[in-house]
Symmetry: C4
Subunit: 389 residues, 4 copies
């Protein structure tokens, strides 16, 4: 086997090279599987492909994955000798749904820690028997919970890009060439993750809720014993609709702007936070959004984190008020994050990003709006060239 530089290299060399690329926490740039594949030298791609072709079922698998909007080749390391179990039905299913499963469990983890923190702090408010005499945590514990929930969720969901938020998937589709066909399957996975995690939190804290509200009572703010705030966000009562919307919009814009900065290795100076530093950066970012913009509306900034658990709280009996509270506030954390992250992303691309983005095309990409057919065709072609769809 010969590499591009004309040296003979042993297979050991390949694996070390391979593992270097795979394991290197400091590499820059590619945030998604396709980009990883695209970045490999041709011979490596071939090798990867070959090893997958040797699976008899692989073409079926690739079809399934393509239909779901995923890359035909699932992200999996070669060293894992999955040949041994590759013809079992479940590993095949898992390979087909690798990224959705990753998003599901990432959001699940995030909501478990986040809602769990709210539950613990809220239900133990003022409890004298706690060590320290003042409950089992304070508002900062909630910042910790959401921050580290996102951080650990990213570790869990590494294979899918770890978006954990439909609004982030959406803006990456618009500005970073993430294929649109992937949006619905990610969306469903993220929503289900939030929905089911809220259910587990409910079961876990059911005795505490009964103790706090009185047996069987389930109320929504502004009730004085309201526990609905464990699951999803409710706004401060002095806040106007515009203020609520703005608060979610600003927090979402900050979220996207900073994430783009963390992932942007062209804006590197020496301070790139992609790779191993990214999850820690997200801890600080989410902590900060909670500590600095979390008061008015509870920093939902994520449909999966807010609507999913809200639906669950409705299902377990919190009543119609989960929708009507705050003047039917519930739609704001569904809509504002999409607009906010898009705005934040555009802002970043206008002022800082030098890489490929619709913003970096004539008329800031608005030109494409007048020739949609061409624009879509271009996009699809690019994706095909890069082997994305």
């Amino acid at each position: 086997m010969t590499d591009a530089r004309g040296h003979e290299i042993s297979s050991e060399d390949w694996s070390s090279k391979d593992s270097h690329m795979d394991k290197d926490n400091h590499r820059t740039g590619p945030t998604d599987h396709e980009q990883h594949i695209a970045a490999l030298p041709p011979s490596e791609v071939q090798q990867t492909t070959t090893s997958l072709d040797s699976q008899k079922t692989s073409s079926h698998l690739q079809n399934t994955r393509s239909k779901l909007g995923l890359h035909p080749t699932a992200p999996i390391v070669e060293e894992h000798d999955y040949a041994g179990h590759s013809d079992l039905w479940w590993p095949k299913v898992r390979l087909s749904l690798k990224e959705p499963f990753a998003e599901f469990w990432g959001v699940f983890c995030m909501v478990m820690f986040g809602d769990g923190a709210v539950a613990q702090v809220l239900l133990s408010t003022d409890q004298r028997t706690a060590p320290g005499g003042d409950g089992f945590g304070d508002y900062q514990s909630i910042n910790w919970g959401w921050g580290l929930g996102v951080m650990l969720g990213i570790y869990i969901a590494g294979d899918s890009g770890a978006y954990l938020n439909p609004a982030l998937t959406f803006t990456n589709c618009v500005l970073r060439k993430l294929p649109w066909r992937r949006f619905p399957v990610y969306f469903i996975a993220q929503f289900l993750g939030g929905f089911l995690a809220a259910g587990v939190i409910y079961i876990n804290y059911i005795n505490g809720i009964n103790d706090f509200e009185g047996y069987g009572n389930r109320t929504v703010p502004p009730s004085k014993t309201a526990t609905a705030g464990i699951f999803c966000t409710y706004p401060q009562d002095f806040e106007t609709k515009a203020g609520m919307f703005l608060s979610e919009f600003i927090a979402s814009a900050i979220l996207m702007f900073v994430i783009f900065a963390l992932k942007d290795d062209s804006n590197k100076g020496q301070f790139s936070a992609s790779g191993a530093w990214f999850p820690l950066g997200l801890f600080f970012l989410i902590f900060g959004i909670g500590a600095c913009f979390g008061w008015q509306t509870g920093y939902a900034i994520n449909l999966a984190r807010d609507f999913g658990p809200r639906l669950m709280s409705y299902a377990v009996g919190y009543g119609h008020e989960v929708w009507s509270a705050g003047g039917y506030y519930f739609w704001i954390p569904m809509v504002a994050p999409f607009l906010g992250t898009l705005f934040g992303g555009i802002l970043y691309d206008i002022f800082i990003y030098t890489g490929p983005s619709p913003i970096n095309t004539p008329y800031f990409g608005l030109g494409d709006l007048f020739r949609p057919k061409n624009a879509i065709q271009d996009r699809v072609e690019t994706q095909k060239t890069q082997g994305i769809v």
Copy 2:
């Protein structure tokens, strides 16, 4: 000496290569010594073995270690010129018991910081003379204490895999081929670490306890001056048995699920947290479990951390109530972590893990239950091939 690529290499080369492998904080995968040995190219293994064979006592040492379920070759760096003291009796003992000592001191450190934090916060509740006027810490200090106790404990116990928890050893035996013969010796080391650390905490805080409870009094919750909670966990009084069990079960499942994710370099994206990032990841994980699931039962999630100190508190005179409190709650943090971590580990292997695991065999490994003889034989053979037992 010639390497696989046909270049002559000096011994200096070897050592630099060696030290690269040793020092590299970012390498992925192997969480145990055997895997490390197994991963070495043949010539290096030979070299390591040779240098150990040159010890006259090494075959005796290897026997002792094998009997304890440990790998025949102790994890030790060559550069340490232990030839100079290798025939002293204590270094030989230390080499035989390297991993158990590591687990012992890791758990010792964890419980010192964890129980120490509870002691300080509990005993200084409401103290006006503290700077800030409200005691020497709050509930969050306890999250810090356990989180960083585990983190520093992992640094101490690097050589043994740093499990620090019998339930984690157990689930790694079931799902990650850690040899079962190692379970008992690790168990004893972990238990003793927790037991003795609790004793040191008791001695250290004895005057504070006397001041808080009244001289010589030692009480258990729900007593208003109870200090037994310093050592081990007691449940909230509204909680049912099922709720207690569930709370421990869920927290343990999260613990194992996230640890498997952190250590799983096949699920890498770019966010792998194995290597140097692992202890920091565990800080956040333990902090999170305490801040989000620590209220109902005090997040024991570890027999060594709960039963060890509980026995010590019984020994120093807290009375029969340490067992009977909460309706003989004490068995829950002994049993639930084993079931919880197993459940969490299976969940991870079903939905995300693509590497070798019983779950990735026919019928999710349940097939093995009907042909136990074959299954055991397979396992032992694999271990022999890899030089584990």
Copy 3:
């Protein structure tokens, strides 16, 4: 193509080398773009230059940038195929103003999080309906907000050196050869970042402010419902002018001294914090200044963070008291940081720094004061040699 060592190397080699240099988070030293350019071997500089020369517009761009005091070559990665959009007017503007934009958004981010944290904590003081029953954060949340605001701001502003503070730019001009011509354009960007971020915070929290002060009221400390402290700092009322000045001076000196230590790779031991560790180090530094020196004057230590938002608070109607409060205290956080950072920097250079600094010239650089013409000429020549101006 041949490198300095006489080996033939392929272009792939170059790019890997290139990317190694770019991606390496652990490299030491250069904190500014020029130094990066200066550090490249000649052939690489040529290559970079060539690829930029191929832009027809590049000479115009270089002129514009030179006039602004920036390095003629904008910091941009080659891999970004900006050829595709390099003749659009906006990408050209963005390339001309890359560093000022970076400083603007870095300060904007910092003030958003910092002022946002103060707003949330102040406006929700004592709020019973918060989970935990005591508001949405405490004084520590403000330490978190400023600390992580600076940290994330550095990630955003990597390309410009991420000073985010006119006083830091100033001291780097004096002691670290940052060209003086860059000071004004950075100053304007930093000031505008702080000014506009304060405006966004005001709009975001306007309903909360109305709720706290009473509709339409806007007051300044020592008013009991004062909210002006959200935007800029006001001193404790027992503090003397000298005490205020000293507090800002000391905090600024610590800031510069520690930053020089973090960036100084000649003082390395093994603990260098340059590169990827730098933003995290700054989080701890800013947190520490807030937790340890933030009481008397609110740790402004930055004209852009204090004067910018102060002007905005005046503009939105907090009245003349924003200037007269604390006995016309407002000038202290404008002046003291410049003197403090200069003092801290000189202290570091006298006692620790061994690299090139005016302090490491005869009479601690005071000699230059008596032959200013020569000194300036020397400086300009050095900059030309290094291709800085």
Copy 4:
């Protein structure tokens, strides 16, 4: 020039290799300059020496440094073209005193942040006008202050080994071959750092102290308005002498045990925390000691941090009570840390450390006590061989 592998290499190669070794944050082991020198291949040592010999003043410098117990060659990077200022008197002084200056400023930084945090929290206790309504920080702020003060102090004092504590220097002399002759000069530097930093804190907070105690009053606990606790530690009043001693002893033992673990790359598993991770590890360690063992005696664990500031508080007028308080408690934080760190270090060497240590000699090194002459001779010879003295 030819390297061991028979390739011709340019001087550029050497420097890049050099800088790789110097800058590499992940390298293991050597915690002191001599060890670094000792680890270099012979040719590099020669080169370093040569370049220093070319200084005319170098032999004088080496004499001065040797007399102070320092390594003859000061730790300085070659790239710093200090030839330009090497014959100025101050750079020569600085080179002679490089390590003491490093220790001085490291301790200075540590005490500034630590004592500053206590001052801010103590003096603002219960202040209603703080954002959040409850003072400018709580007990945790003090944990943050000391933790990050040590962390940043280590960054500052990298060149000297960053001990920042006479007890740590002492135990490293006993167990890790740090030359005894270095102890006194480090001791003086550390003491002065603590002494003077306390003075700066006093000046900075003098108005706040006057406001808190009443103008001109300066009292010591148990006075209700005592502010002496800002500078040094005072024990809880229920605590016995034995309890005080034990508390300091245990905290110091933990400190040394964990530091040895963090620096021990033979106990590596994959979790080594030497290099870039060390300062962060120390942050968590100091935070933990403060949060878990900081109540009874205020976790002095350091003569420089306690006696230095205590003397300063005596000098500025806190009166004889600074010595007599707590039953002449002041000697405990002077003596206990030495015994505690020694105990902790021995414990680590007995149970975990496999490298060279007196503990790893016959009779745990006690044998040397009976043949002191030989032992000393051996030690000096080793140091000479390694070029340490």
